[in-house]
């Protein structure tokens, strides 16, 4: 029967071909007729003329044929469409359930697919992106994955001077917000510094002008800048003479030498680029650069990697482990962090999709069973199986179109939400959009879900011999369709089990992280952040004065109980410095944070031993250090804590003395790692008043200090008053960011919360779908066994027995699904073990909750329809038959 539909489609689509066939048929007809006439004695020429007369005009035949075909199809389709609409209107529950399920599946599926696509699947928006890579330094001793894409100046010089088989460029990944001013306009822009050849390596040249030359990309080189197309058109009104004019960034003049194309965007959100001017000291003394390379055409990745590995890396330190150069594909470098969470999102959606499709199939089967007698009657009255199939196709296409249409509309709205969440948590930088791929995936799945699942049951009706269904009368026959439906149900329950298990693990894991003792009291603390990367705050005294005056002003605000300044906040990536303990020769690394006196009090970090910083700790006095307990346990386990001497080149020649020990606070795990996203890392605090100006200047390029303010009133209400204080003491510095400390904390686990919330929502939706499916099956069972139960009750069975006998089928399906799903759940917990913290992959709480939830679902979906039997009067049932 598909052959026929296909043939008809072919006629419609490839009219020319069938026209050609018809021509050939007519020619044959005319020739045969002519020959017969000749055989009867007619002159051949006369015979041909006679044949043409008898046959009539071939064009008329063509026209009639086309008409018959087209009109027949049109008529039948219109009739089927009318019938389909009438049929759906007669059974609105079916239509609504079907369309809602399909729309939800397609809507959520398309939205998530778009986000995942933008994040990890879509090729990077550069020419030949597979040839782009980042140079990394591996420490083979520390394992294959112990590579770092961060490079220092000496590392870059090796690559620059020796890797001449590659196109290569250095850049800084640090994008900073700056004020761009001209005589006419001002704008807040984001500035990134890149080396010469950066845009050539990416493969995107400026649309006007040029990129930086090697001569411009050296310390002390001319101040030049490239600007984005957006800034060019927004701030400069698309001025065609912009090249060569001067703009000011943070007050310094730069000459515009180029404009980037309109659609250019890299993983760095920047609109102004200036030369990096790489060096081996200062910024270049640390690993603050990234190295971008493009593998030339014809060279494969492995070859480039091994040729790079042949270059000898610079020696980091005498006792540092051996390192080697290597390459990591740019897409890997950008996406490796998010690939796992994205796959989990996608996996969750796909499983939900599977459950949804099974539901659609179940609905279709139920519907086709319910319509068996109708179909059989029509078959007996002469409708061909083909006509029935065609009608079903029209019906399903109608359902599919409505479902897919609502789904895409839903996706459009869902996308905004999902994109916002994903951008906040996964650093998506490629625009999320519906493109042809998303559309075709959505429509393809919709077509599959409706046509495939719509036709499977109908094919069974096709096999059915009309008389059987008629003989069985109004009673609904089950047979293989029912078995198929129950099998689907077990599958659905299994998928839901695995999905719920995974979601449960993430929720428990988030609960664990959220319940960790942060080590401080976040409630009532407001944080305000400033950038002090400014010539006016180059000297210690200037910074000191700012700290003192602002803190005095803030402390005088009514309600403020304490205030302090700190370089970094809990959960923020902290500064790391190398140091040595006492006379021990080995170099260690720990977090270092400068704070003003009162910081520990403001955050309620308990002082365990010794003292907080105070007025004694001044420049010129011995450097005082406060360490946390983790530091004491890791580095000072062998001696007295107070009075221990730590030396570090970063802190000056004499080093410092430990004067106090405080409790731990949660920090981002960073390099000193742990098996969870936050960790109580060894940290030393130093007094802001003892930080030399030079170090301040260096630190403030990278870190913007935070003011922390504790008040008895609501932290957020304090913001206007605090802002006023800053306007008085530092009128020319804009506040970078204000946030309450609880918000900062929230942000720390945002990714985990997003994953958990997303997956649990998807799992619950799948659960709901499965519940609807189960309800349908039991309701069907109830209908089917009405007479039997009526008889049993008439013969003395209690209504309870009847309900139980019918309902237990649903429970059985759930139990089968649960058992089957447990196998899947084991797989899920394997996949997710790197994403869960603080709980075992076979967490008993999740298991118990899972069984509980499924039990409640099964009981509800089963016994709600089954109790209908109990309320029936046996006499009525028996009389009905």
């Amino acid at each position: 029967m598909f052959v026929r539909i296909i043939r008809r489609l072919r006629h419609l689509l490839f009219g020319a071909r069938s026209r050609h066939e018809l021509d050939e048929e007519i020619a044959f007809h005319l020739e045969a007729l002519t020959q017969d006439l000749v055989r009867q004695g007619m002159d051949p020429k006369e015979a041909r003329r006679e044949a043409h007369i008898r046959f009539g005009a071939p064009e008329w035949v063509h026209e009639r044929t086309r008409e018959e075909r087209g009109l027949a199809l049109f008529d039948e389709t219109a009739r089927n469409l009318r019938m389909a609409i009438r049929g759906l209107a007669r059974n609105p529950m079916f239509a609504v359930t079907f369309i809602t399920t399909l729309a939800m599946c397609i809507g959520l599926g398309a939205a998530v697919f778009s986000v995942v696509d933008a994040t990890i699947w879509r090729p990077l928006p550069f020419p030949a992106p597979q040839q782009l890579a980042q140079a990394v330094l591996y420490s083979p001793a520390a394992g294959k994955n112990a590579g770092s894409t961060s490079a220092d100046g000496r590392t870059w010089e090796r690559i620059r001077d020796q890797a001449d088989f590659l196109d290569r460029a250095v850049y800084s990944g640090w994008v900073q917000g700056v004020n761009l001013t001209t005589d006419q306009a001002a704008a807040f822009v984001r500035q990134q510094r890149v080396g010469t050849g950066y845009f050539r390596t990416l493969g995107i040249p400026p649309v006007m002008g040029r990129e930086f030359t090697a001569a411009e990309d050296v310390p002390g080189g001319p101040a030049v800048a490239l600007i984005s197309h957006d800034i060019w058109s927004r701030t400069f009104g698309g001025d065609p003479d912009i090249l060569g004019t001067s703009i000011r960034l943070k007050g310094d003049a730069f000459t515009v030498v180029g404009i980037m194309p309109e659609d250019f965007h890299s993983s760095f959100d920047a609109d102004v680029w200036t030369p990096l001017r790489p060096s081996t000291s200062g910024e270049g003394g640390g690993t603050n650069y990234g190295i971008l390379v493009r593998i030339p055409d014809g060279m494969d990745f492995g070859e480039a990697d091994s040729r790079l590995a042949a270059i000898e890396p610079p020696v980091a330190a005498e006792d540092a482990p051996v390192r080697r150069f290597g390459l990591v594909g740019l897409d890997d470098a950008l996406n490796s962090d998010v690939r796992m969470p994205m796959m989990i999102l996608m996996g969750g959606i796909l499983l939900m999709f599977a459950v949804g499709c099974a539901n659609l199939a179940g609905l279709q089967i139920a519907r086709s069973l319910a319509r068996q007698s109708e179909m059989a009657t029509r078959q007996a009255l002469g409708s061909g199986t083909g006509a029935l199939v065609r009608q079903t196709v029209v019906e399903n296409v109608l359902l599919g179109v409505i479902g897919a249409g609502s789904g895409l509309a839903l996706a459009y709205f869902a996308l905004t939400g999902v994109e916002g969440l994903a951008q906040a948590h996964f650093g998506i930088w490629q625009p999320v959009r519906f493109d042809a791929r998303v559309l075709s995936v959505a429509l393809g799945t919709s077509a599959l879900a409706t046509l495939f699942f719509g036709l499977v049951p109908v094919l069974q009706v096709g096999k059915l011999r009309g008389h059987r269904a008629l003989i069985s009368g109004s009673r609904v026959m089950g047979g293989s369709s029912h078995v198929l439906r129950k099998t689907l149900m077990v599958g659905q329950m299994a998928v839901v089990t695995a999905l719920l298990f995974g979601a449960g693990l993430l929720v428990r894991s988030y609960g664990y992280l959220d319940g960790l003792d942060p080590g401080f009291q976040p409630e009532g603390v407001l944080t305000v952040q400033f950038s002090l990367d400014d010539a006016r705050y180059a000297e210690s005294e200037d910074v000191e004065r700012l700290f003192e005056q602002s803190l005095d002003g803030i402390r005088s605000i009514p309600g403020v109980t304490s205030a302090a300044v700190s370089l970094t906040l809990p959960y923020e990536r902290p500064l790391n410095i190398p140091f040595r303990v006492g006379t021990d020769e080995s170099t260690r690394v720990a977090n270092a944070v400068y704070v003003t006196p009162g910081f520990f009090e403001t955050l309620s970090i308990p002082l365990r031993q010794g003292r907080d910083f105070d007025e004694r700790d001044r420049l010129g006095q011995p450097l005082a250090l406060v360490v946390n307990q983790a530091f004491a346990e890791t580095h000072l386990q062998d001696g007295p804590l107070l009075g221990a001497r730590l030396t570090s080149r970063t802190l000056g020649a004499d080093g410092g003395v430990v004067v106090g020990v405080v409790g731990n606070v949660q920090q981002q795990a960073g390099f000193s790692g742990g098996d969870r996203p936050v960790w109580e890392t060894p940290t030393m605090y130093l007094a802001a008043s003892q930080v030399p100006g030079q170090l301040f200047q260096g630190l403030h390029v990278w870190f913007s200090p935070h003011w922390v303010i504790r008040s008895a009133t609501s932290a957020a209400e304090l913001t206007p008053q605090v802002t006023r204080v800053f306007e008085q003491v530092a009128p020319d510095i804009p506040v970078a960011r204000t946030a309450t400390l609880p918000d900062v904390m929230d942000q720390a686990f945002a990714e985990q919360r997003f994953e958990a919330a997303f997956l649990i929502a998807v799992a619950l939706f799948a659960l709901l779908l499965a519940g609807i499916g189960l309800y349908g099956i039991v309701a069907h069972e109830v209908l089917e066994r009405r007479t039997e139960m009526g008889l049993r009750m008439a013969l003395g069975a209690t209504p309870g027995d009847a309900v139980w006998t019918t309902g237990v089928a649903g429970i059985r399906l759930t139990v089968f699904g649960l058992v089957l799903g447990s196998v899947g759940a084991i797989g899920v917990s394997r996949v997710m073990q790197h994403l869960i913290y603080g709980i075992a992959p076979h967490d008993p709480v999740v298991m118990v909750a899972l069984v509980g939830v499924l039990g409640v679902l099964a009981a509800t979906a089963t016994f709600v329809p089954a109790t209908r039997l109990g309320r029936l009067d046996p006499a009525t049932i028996l009389r009905d038959n």
Partner: protein, 113 residues
Amino acid sequence: MLGTRELLPGTLDMLILKALSLGPAHGYGVLLRIEETSQGLLSLEQGSLYPALSRLEDRGVLTAEWGKSENNRRAKFYRLTEAGHGRLDGETRRWEEMVVAVANVLDAAPSKA
């Protein structure tokens, strides 16, 4: 020479189906069969045969494939499908009922009552 009696509307399909129930044939063959079996009493408008054939093919009561004719020319041969047989039975029954009904009407005598 063939007869000149016109076909009743709606009977063409039935005649084609009947002709093909005797075995597969090409379009011209169908024509000849109808003319022969009607002993020359029925004449088809020859061109109208082809629209009817393709319509029936679309409906799935006929299938067609290209083959060789008796004089070794390429021709499109039609064959009745299972649905076609069913359709023919239905049409025949309807036709017979119709004949009986029409005959009854024509036989009716004035009521004696």
